[in-house]
Symmetry: C2
Subunit: 433 residues, 2 copies
């Protein structure tokens, strides 16, 4: 990553590397991202969700008020602008969503079905599954306080996983409910003020030995009479019937995604603002971090002068998805080349003819490149081959006389002499295999 810059006729050698935890997206890298984004968009729109976006920088206070302590104090990039404003680079999208919805609460149609694909920044240690700059798909429905909305959101998540090529044997969504958990802990005599500490312990349970977890609970002050039924509850495979769970699972069934969803009392999510359903998607083998995670947040946004605005949604980062896709070999072959045909130039005296044909191809919606410099035909064909351009057009003396072109399919090597209109039809109907 050395390069030279000429500044005022003097050469200055510079070694400048990209910032740690960031990625350069060369066309072959961006091809993956474009494919993933297109799946996110397609599924969102299949469910009638509309795309929105917000600023990359927000007032520091917006995040300080809403996001968790760790996110704001340890991970968020902060700066002061030239007007002395304290700003944060968004580490997540939900605060912006809340701000935007609150600002137009009375104009927006209910329900609000929205998605976004923001680029976010977090100062975390770069490692497997973690970078500092990443795209995070967000999808939310606001204005509906019903388990059917939770099911619709989960169905979107599952549909994305299916669209990416995962089966129910590869991945699943683990579902729980914060309200049910609070009631359950209370029924064991666990005091209200201990609940968030207990949630924090449950959230880490899977990474702990049984004794470590037991000790943590006991350190919080849970008696043996409280710990025993709690431990039993956390082993449950079936949800409590006296709850919203039956309605949620009925709705999941009607959306056709229940095979992908399991009740799991260990899922409580680390974030304070969730009030009801919470969920996280994982690969079944649990080799990776969660693929997406979210929940219901009925108290998060309360509009000034308005009523409650219930909401449910999730976030899905690009990095873990990519890791799992690659590990499971689910990434389709992606070619960054958009060019459908290279129009070669036989020699400079034939350039005008080649350029005219190139113009006609483009006017007919064909993505066409033309060779700009004087090159031997062999070298032009080699370029097309390396770039995986499927067709090449040749215009030489014979073609000019016959008013046709030679169309060569690079993969097979087949050559046909055709009119430009016939060539357009052939190029259009070509499907890369």
């Amino acid at each position: 990553m050395f390069f030279l810059l000429r500044s005022k006729k003097e050469y200055v050698m510079l070694t400048i590397q990209k910032v740690r935890g960031t990625r350069d997206f060369y066309p072959e890298d961006l091809a993956f991202r474009k494919w993933l984004f297109s799946v996110w968009r397609k599924v969102s729109e299949r469910f009638g969700y509309e795309e929105y976006d917000g600023p990359f920088l927000e007032p520091y206070e917006l995040f300080a008020a809403k996001s968790g302590q760790e996110l704001v104090n340890e991970q968020m990039y902060q700066l002061t602008d030239r007007g002395e404003r304290k700003l944060g680079i968004r580490p997540e999208m939900t605060p912006t969503l809340a701000r935007m919805v609150a600002a137009k609460r009375n104009e927006l149609l209910n329900p609000i079905r929205w998605y976004s694909i923001p680029i976010c920044w977090r100062y975390e240690k770069p490692q497997k599954g973690r970078v500092r700059e990443f795209a995070q798909y967000n999808v939310d429905v606001l204005g509906v306080d019903s388990p059917r909305a939770d099911a619709e959101i989960i169905a979107i998540g599952v549909t994305i996983l299916k669209e990416l090529g995962f089966t129910k044997d590869d991945v699943y969504v683990r579902v729980n409910n914060r309200f049910v958990m609070e009631q359950t802990l209370a029924s064991f005599g666990i005091q209200k003020e201990k609940i968030s500490q207990v949630f924090a312990a449950i959230d880490k349970k899977e990474r702990l030995q049984k004794e470590e977890f037991e000790k943590w609970l006991s350190d919080i002050g849970l008696t043996s009479a409280q710990r025993v039924p709690l431990q039993e509850f956390l082993e449950r495979k079936s949800y409590p019937e006296n709850s919203q769970f039956p309605a949620l699972f009925d709705a999941l069934e009607s959306f056709g995604v229940s095979e992908y969803v399991e009740f799991d009392p260990v899922i409580v999510r680390g974030i304070d603002y969730y009030t009801g359903t919470v969920f996280e998607a994982f690969d079944r083998k649990k080799q990776f971090r969660s693929i997406f995670a979210g929940g219901r947040y009925d108290d998060l946004v309360e509009v000034f002068g308005g009523g409650k605005l219930p909401g449910v949604g999730f976030g899905m980062g690009e990095v873990v998805v990519e890791e799992i896709l690659r590990a499971y070999e689910k990434v389709p072959p992606l070619v960054p080349t958009v060019t459908q045909v290279l129009v070669t130039v036989f020699s400079e005296s034939f350039r005008t003819q080649s350029q005219n044909i190139c113009n006609i191809l483009r006017a007919n919606g064909i993505n066409a490149e033309i060779t700009l410099t004087e090159e031997k035909i062999d070298k032009q064909l080699k370029y097309a081959n390396k770039k995986q351009i499927p067709f090449v057009v040749l215009v030489g003396p014979d073609e000019v006389v016959s008013q046709k072109v030679t169309l060569k399919e690079m993969k097979t090597g087949n050559q046909q002499t055709k009119s430009v209109q016939e060539s357009i039809q052939i190029i259009r109907s070509y499907v890369r295999t």
Copy 2:
């Protein structure tokens, strides 16, 4: 923009507005941006250009080395991260392009035809045509030192303008050449060390009175014998023949865009790194700032250990384009709604039937919403109407018996009883008018 946040069961009222110079993109706003981006992408790919992207934050030094003083010292957002790295938020894309190309110089196929649509930040006074956060389309071809490459890049710009709906009577591209200008100034006896000062004066000429410009030249130290031929030259309508201009205009002609392009000796561009062709596109009435601007920069990137890497490209910001499109009433009607059909729920006892039909529609690639809460049919129709959803599906007692659905086209009010498969065909073939 007031809203309430419940934090640990206490209400805190917050007034948080978006940062000055930023914009929220509600779905109806994003619809415009998505349309503009789609035109940028379509035209770029029509010419065989591939999309790339880079990080939003780069080392401060990258911009300090390459970007102009004003951009870095007055406009760039800077920060220091938790690892004490001095970073800049990208005010432009070219330094990142140069860094990326230099890092993979030997692997990349020649020519490099790339485009990108980065979001950039500049601390400028927000005003007409200026915001602090904006998308800027960038297109470049590297590795070709020929006026044909310049013509191809200009042709891409013109094709975008045409695709946006502008005619040759609305807009045009003014072209000049820095090398020719340097030769010309030298031929008038103007010393080499004065040339960049003279360029700075010419760059501002159109905003000055004739006397002011004359005085500026004379303040630089130009004699009357130098000023007179310079003033004459700056009035020229035809390009000097003894230059690259004839080849450039021949190439522009062959690309079919020469009607949009004019020689204009006043265009010199304020940026130091341009070495040859320079150009700026404007509305003919010159009521707006430039639509796009760029040029040839053959000395900008010199790879360590490699040779020269000639390049030519331009940038087009979204804000001026949007202003002119709106002033000229060229923005097509854009509906943010992606939903093609709303599946209504006649009553809760019919929900399962409605949900099944909704699932079938989605599985067949139709964007379908379903009503999640219990609502009167009238209210559901009103929602579809307000949201401009073109179709509504009704499933009541009669439809369940007949195994059909009632499909209502909202614009005409026409209702037909059809099978689900027939409905899919009708919805698919619908074109919004």
